[in-house]
Symmetry: C2
Subunit: 240 residues, 2 copies
C-alpha cells in the first residue's frame, strides 16, 4: 500500500418515474445499466415497485440492497431503517463503488427516500437524477393541464386537517391533493362543501396497468390506494 | 375509392424534459424515433430548444413543423399562431399520420403548448407523454427535496402582484417561484421582507450547460433568463 486512499463512490438517486417503465429517463436507464450496486425501497414482504419499474435495465450481476419498510413503525422505527440502509450503502461507497438508489416518481417530490439521501449526503458524494413525478403523470393521463399563465398550483397532502386544506383550496387556482388513502371520503366531503366537486378528478395508479380515472363524484370507495391523487382545476378544462 | 375513410392520426405531446437531452423519457425517445411528422415551438428567429433537446432521436426524413412565436404578440396575436399550428398539424392527422408535438419540460406544467393541444383535442385524438418538469429538475440540481410528509408546496408565477405572492408565501411550507424574468429584483425584495432570503435559492437553466445555482442573496442580476426559478424551503435543508 502506498498510503493513497481509494476515491469514494457516489450515491446516485434515480427517479424511475410514476409506473410505466418507459417513463424512466434515458439517463436513469444508462446509469442503471452500468450499476454494480443498486438499492431500492421495498415493502416488508414482497416486490419493490421501484425495482420492478427499473428491472429491464438492471445488470444480472448487480448487488441489490432492498430497503424494507416495516408495516408498523412502532415495532421498528423508520429512522433505524434509514440509518441501517445508509450504513449498508456507505460500505460500498467507501470501497469506491457507486450505488444507484432507485426512487418511485421523482426522488425529491415527497419521496420518503430523501431521508436515506440526507444521511448519505453528510458523508459521501451524492447526485440526483430527476424523474417524471406523479404530478405530471396524473395530468398527462387525464389529458388536462395542471396550470398555466399566472395560475397558482398548490400541492396538498391529504392527511392535513380540514381547516388547513380549506384555506389553501379557497386561495389556489389549481390543486393536486396527494397521499389520499383513507382520507378520500373526508376530502370528497370537503371539496363538495367548497363547491369544487365538479372540477375535481380522481386518478389511481397513473400510467400503471391498473390505472383508473374518474370524476371525483364517482370515487365512492372508502379508501384510495397509496398511488392516487385528486386534481382540482378551478377554471375547468377550458384552455383554448 | 371504396368510400372507406382512412383512420385519422394521433397528436402525441411529448415532454422532452428540462434541458439535458438524457432527461428525455424512453417513451418519448421511442415515439420520436418513429415519428414522420414532428412539430415544436420555436422563437421568431433561430433554433427551437425543444428540437435541440430531442435532436438525437429525430428521423432525418421527418417532416418538421416549427411553430414560431412572434416576439411581440401585438404584431401577430399568439392565438392566431396556435390556430395556424393546429390547422397545419391537423392536415397531417387527417391523412392518418401521427404527429409528435415537442414541449420543453412537461407539456402540462405551465407549458404554453397546451393551447395548441386544446385546439387539436377538439377534433383529433391526442395523447400526452409526461416529461421531467423544471420543478423536479431544479430540486435535483440543488440537491434539496422540494417537499416531504405533510408539507404544502406552492408553485407561484413571478408576475403575480406582491400582495398575492406575499399571502401564499406566508402560508406555504415550500414554494417554487417560476417565470422569474424581469421580476427578480421585486421577488428578492419581497422574500427579504418576509425573512425568507436565507432559505431561498436561485436556479438558472437547470440541467443545461450554462446551469447556475446560488443563494438568492447572490442573485443580484436585474433580470433572470426565461429558464430560472426561485426555490424556498422554510424548513431549510434539514431532512434527516
Amino acid at each position: 500500500m502506498t498510503g493513497r486512499m481509494a476515491e469514494s463512490g457516489t450515491a446516485i438517486g434515480i427517479g424511475v418515474g410514476p409506473g410505466d417503465p418507459e417513463l424512466m429517463t434515458l439517463k436513469g436507464a444508462r446509469i442503471l445499466s452500468g450499476a454494480t450496486v443498486v438499492a431500492y425501497p421495498a415493502p416488508e414482504h414482497g416486490d419493490s415497485l421501484a425495482r420492478t419499474i427499473a428491472a429491464p435495465h438492471l445488470r444480472a450481476d448487480a448487488t441489490e440492497i432492498a430497503i424494507r419498510m416495516p408495516l408498523s413503525g412502532d415495532r421498528f422505527p423508520i429512522g433505524a431503517v434509514y440509518n441501517r440502509a445508509a450504513l449498508e450503502i456507505g460500505a460500498h461507497l467507501a470501497r469506491g463503488e457507486d450505488v444507484a438508489v432507485l426512487c418511485e416518481g421523482d426522488p425529491f417530490f415527497y419521496g420518503s427516500f430523501m431521508y436515506v439521501f440526507a444521511r448519505l449526503a453528510e458523508r459521501w458524494p451524492v447526485q440526483v437524477v430527476p424523474g417524471v413525478s406523479s404530478l405530471t403523470a396524473c395530468a398527462a393521463v387525464t389529458g388536462t393541464a395542471l396550470a398555466a399563465l399566472t395560475d397558482v398550483l398548490t400541492v396538498l397532502p391529504g392527511p392535513l386537517p380540514d381547516y388547513a386544506l380549506r384555506a389553501r383550496l379557497i386561495e389556489t387556482d389549481a390543486a393536486a391533493i396527494i397521499k389520499v388513502g383513507r382520507h378520500l371520503p373526508r376530502l370528497r366531503a370537503l371539496l363538495d362543501e367548497l363547491g369544487l366537486t365538479g372540477q375535481a378528478r380522481y386518478v389511481e395508479r397513473a400510467t400503471m396497468d391498473q390505472q383508473h380515472i374518474c370524476p371525483l363524484a364517482d370515487a365512492t370507495n372508502a379508501a384510495a390506494p397509496y398511488f392516487s391523487m385528486i386534481l382540482v382545476h378551478k377554471r375547468g378544462t377550458a384552455w383554448a
